[in-house]
């Protein structure tokens, strides 16, 4: 059947973006370091200050990032809702047009 052949052609596996695997491995490696990292030694106070600063920046940055993600998800939901509302309104309009045309 023609459409099935067209679907197979349209849906062939694409090439992954260049450097994809490297980026995944880098993120996996960064994730491990974040979980397992420990500070020790003579620069303990400096390290603690650095960690505190990083944590603060991370919290602030993380909060902002999280808020942006929340806003983005809320926007996606809002547009989905409006799309559905528009679709049903236009279903009603189409039916009215159809009756008027008869």
């Amino acid at each position: 059947m023609t459409i099935e052949r067209e679907l197979r052609e349209a849906l062939r596996r694409p090439e992954a973006p260049p450097g994809f695997a490297s980026r995944v491995v880098a993120r996996a490696r960064a994730g491990e370091r974040g979980e397992g990292g420990r500070g020790r030694g003579n620069a303990a106070r400096a390290l603690a200050a650095g960690v505190l600063l990083a944590l603060t920046l991370g919290v602030v940055g993380g909060y902002r990032w999280e808020r942006r993600r929340t806003a983005e998800r809320a926007a996606e939901s809002a547009v989905t809702a409006l799309r559905i509302a528009s679709e049903k309104l236009n279903l009603a309009r189409q039916n009215i047009h159809n009756h008027a045309a008869e």
């Binding site: 099935e4 067209e6 679907l7 349209a10 849906l11 596996r13 992954a16 695997a21 995944v24 996606e76």
Partner: protein, 177 residues
């Protein structure tokens, strides 16, 4: 002597082995994401997160076959979650991948049109179509991947193809007029 597979070595922390797994399966994962979401940036982000989840779950993967099924299932479920929330975003036709061997002639316009029309289907119908025609899965395999009954898969497939046929017909009419 048993030669450890990339899977078992990755599970033991071999980074190069994990990278090999990513390279082996990236087209499948990225393809499901891209054809479902029609957004390169989101598809790559989602694909990366699937492999990161794999990285954290390697101990639970029992075999190469299990790995493939796991990747498909996790990718499909993430796509369903994202696709429902992101229906508003239209992607320019140019951004939708048209894959295939460079040497083989294909009609890129028709492929892009069809890919775009697939993007109009509801999320689950879209996933069923992608798993059937990109991954060549049998209905039972699609059912297991998406946690639905075979009858539901059949229904999604039938209705999805009906809609695509109808839209293709409308699209052809509009381009003729």
């Amino acid at each position: 002597m048993v030669i450890p597979s990339a899977l078992s070595r990755a599970g033991e922390g071999d980074e190069a082995a994990f990278a090999r797994l990513v390279v082996e399966h990236e087209r499948m994962v990225y393809g499901i994401a891209l054809h479902s979401l029609h957004d390169r940036e989101t598809a790559e982000e989602l694909s990366q997160e699937v492999f990161l989840q794999l990285y954290r779950s390697l101990d639970a993967i029992e075999s190469p076959e299990h790995l493939v099924n796991w990747l498909r299932r996790v990718t499909a479920n993430r796509c369903i979650d994202v696709a429902r929330r992101r229906r508003f975003r239209l992607v320019p036709l140019e951004d939708v991948a048209v894959a295939g061997d460079a040497g083989e002639w294909r009609d890129p316009i028709a492929a892009r049109t069809l890919a775009r029309l697939i993007g109009r289907l509801p999320a689950r119908q879209r996933l069923v179509i992608v798993l059937r025609y990109q991954e060549e899965l049998e209905l039972g395999e699609i059912a297991a991947t998406l946690s639905m009954s075979v009858n539901t898969v059949k229904s999604h497939l039938r209705r999805g193809i009906e809609k695509l046929r109808r839209w293709l017909g409308e699209s052809a009419e509009r381009s003729d007029s």
